[in-house]
């Protein structure tokens, strides 16, 4: 029996219909807030507000949570006199989006210190993550709308059913929002949020009295160092390269350093060394000064509290004090 054209057409139409239904579902819940995205929304806005309050050239620490917990912007500001904002949030959010937000905050004359987590240089965590998709849908509809159709189709394809259900539920009955003034816990037991931010955007939740106890995540190996970053042809390097070009055109000075991470013997293996060489070469070839070495940022486990990237407050102060003398010459040059 012959297979009619109608059947092949039906297959194609059904497939396209599937895509259309799911892209449509994304549109129906754009901007519907979710509780899981509230902390990032809050701290990003607060940090942007702090930044706007400082006149003149500023220093921004750009990274995920390794800088949020591991670099003390207040101390840098006190010792150098340069207004400093810790823009660290979470490396789990797409690097593209984070850098795009940063572009709206910085201005000519500013200095940026990129202390990006090693994973940011690879292919993952650059364009999307589950947390990132959640955030873009709930809190950044304008960013979602400006993405390409292909990106929207990819997002519709990867977004879990549970997230779509949550969006729909929240349209009707919003999740319990944190009442102003109350702590995030128990409203959001995973992260402390803005209640623990100081006026420079540093998270001070990592003090002995409040921080989480050591968790199993402290045993994790950083995949980018364990598996290596064999070349600069990754989505991460491409995204950063494009950002560096933009910053140069805007007369913004960019410096780079390595993120704080728990020291592991595996990172001394060829894969780890190659990854560090690749990153160093990447910045050097683009005229971006690299402050300190990767080894200086690899610290003993007792200086971290819950993940391989989260320094305790005391360790963050020590780390910042070591960083400042290396940073100062560049800040004075920028002035």
């Amino acid at each position: 029996m012959n297979v009619p054209w109608r059947y092949i057409l039906g297959l194609a139409v059904g497939f396209v219909l599937g895509i259309a239904v799911f892209v449509g579902l994304l549109y129906t819940q754009l901007g519907v807030p979710t509780l899981s995205t509230q902390w990032l929304f809050d701290i990003t806005n607060k940090k942007a507000l702090y930044a706007a309050n400082f006149p003149g050239p500023r220093l921004f620490i750009v990274a995920g949570s390794s800088a949020l917990f591991g670099v003390n912007a207040q101390l840098i500001q006190q010792q150098t006199g340069v207004p400093t904002i810790n823009m660290g949030t979470s490396a789990g959010y797409p690097l593209n989006y984070r850098l795009d937000c940063l572009k709206k905050i910085v201005r000519p004359g500013d200095t940026l210190l990129l202390a990006l987590e090693y994973e940011s240089y690879g292919d993952k965590l650059v364009n999307y993550s589950d947390a990132g998709d959640d955030y873009l849908l709930a809190r950044a509809p304008e960013y979602f709308l400006q993405t390409s159709l292909l990106y929207k189709i990819e997002m519709a394809t990867r977004i879990p059913f549970k997230r779509l259900q949550k969006g729909w539920r929240n349209r009707e009955t919003p999740e319990r929002e944190r009442p102003p003034g109350l702590p995030y816990i128990p409203y959001l037991p995973i992260t402390p949020g803005i209640d623990c931010l100081d006026d420079n955007g540093d998270e001070v939740f990592n003090m002995a009295a409040t921080r989480h106890p050591p968790g199993p995540e402290m045993q994790d190996l950083c995949s980018a160092l364990a598996d290596g970053l064999p070349s600069e042809r990754t989505a991460g390097f491409e995204t950063i390269d494009s950002f560096l070009q933009w910053a140069r055109a805007q007369h913004i000075t960019v410096l780079a350093t390595f993120p704080n991470i728990i020291k592991e013997p595996a990172y001394d293996e060829p894969n780890g060394q190659k990854a560090i060489e690749t990153i160093t070469h990447f910045y050097a070839s683009r005229g971006v000064p690299v402050i300190g070495t990767a080894k200086e940022a690899m610290l003993p486990p007792d200086q971290f509290f819950d993940t391989v990237y989260h320094l305790t407050h005391e360790a963050a102060i020590q780390r910042t004090e070591r960083l400042i003398p290396e940073l100062e010459p560049y800040l004075h040059a920028a002035k």
């Binding site: 297979v3 057409l9 799911f22």
Partner: protein, 512 residues
Amino acid sequence: MLFSSWNFMVYFLPVSVVVFYLIPAPFRTARKLWLIAASLFFYGYWKIEYVPLLLLSIAFNYAIAEGIIRFPDKSRMLVITGVTLNLLLLGYFKYTNFAVHFLSHLVQRDLGHFNIILPLAISFFTFTQISYLVDVYRDRTAHYRFLDYSLFVVLFPHLIAGPIVRHWEIIPQFIDRELKASRENFGVGITLFLFGLFKKYIADQAAVYADDVYDGARDHLALSSFDAWMGTVAFALQIYFDFSAYSDMAIGLARMFGVKFPSNFDSPYRATSVIVFWERWHRTLTRFLREYVYYSLGGNRRGHFRQVLNILATMLLSGLWHGAGWTYIIWGGLHGIFLVVNHQWRLWVKQMNWTLDRWFHRAASVLVTFIAVSFAWTFFRATNITVAGTMLSSMLGLHGMSLPDEFFIHGGFRDKFLAPLGFHFINTEALQIKHYENALETIAILLLVCWASPNTQQLLSKYDPILEPVTRQPWIHLKLGFWLGLILGFLAYLILRNSYVSDPNPFIYFNF
């Protein structure tokens, strides 16, 4: 690259199909070269280092076959050399460590471990080529061009996990039917592939329950008889849908390129005996074992006792082929015993002049066969004999028949009916099996599908989906029209979404 993976479905398959269909029909050699290149890429994607081994194996076997044809007086020596070297290669990669461990155990000394990575598909391409050598030796007319022979061996739809195809059923299609790029081939092929994709999704759901229970047995967690049976039946369903999915996808993929494969899977859980089960489960492997092992050993031609030995030997070899481990050997041995008992039963029924063809006879036969097969699957799934022992002792109630406290916690049914029957209740919370009710419902529905619904080749029988005619006609046929296409296309997108979000489990038969 898994057939159900994102990379395969979104990149590899569309590119290989589109280029194939763009090559004009008169350029048949170009189509063959393209298919060989795509197949080698598919194989090399896993580990490029083993592509030369595959190519060497093809060149070696082709040369031996040519030798057999050209030098008839040396054909016996050549076929023995060819088969032996193939088996040595397979033995080296697959069985060296098993043999070393066994010897270590015998001599009570650690003889070490070799760092050997089993090349993907080696069991399948070795068997495919052994059958070719033996056929050429038996009938020296099977002479093909090297290009056709190479394509026959590497053709990616069957390369990794079968069907174990025979040269005489595949290579003539390269020549006679010109690897036709037609709407019919594409339509039937994609339909079979999509059915396989849906089944793979089902298999992965069943795997969740099976893994929970078998991991619990491995970790020495409290396991009730109920849990053990549920895990075993869940695995029986997982492997059923997994292998059925693979077979449908392989047949569908080949069909997209104008090649028809033989049937490999034909509703085996509807078999009324273990003999029939093996006629329906992995049919091309059964055919291979029957024709090249069982018959070579003498089959049933040398008396009843010898036939029993031949069945046992063949099934033990089948077990060993599936994996280098005692659990696989015991699984094969158990099936050997089942087959022997089944043959005896048939003789007995014949002698007693019984006619067991009423519906309830058939239903009971199907149930008994399913229980026997599921029982044997315990060894197939267990990671070692200890785990299999734990599972079986729970299933057979060697420490008393037990039920999970959590599931039967409510109602008087437990105390009034189950307890007096001798069941005791144990706390199985550590197993962390979630949603017992869902598991039971899922298992019940899937069993119903296995037992009552027509299989893919029956549903598509009007479109000649397989090489041979579909023998048993179903109560329903599919008509490929717009609305069916619309539904399948929509479902295909849903499954594709799933493979984007989470990597599908590898096909179970990819391990062999």
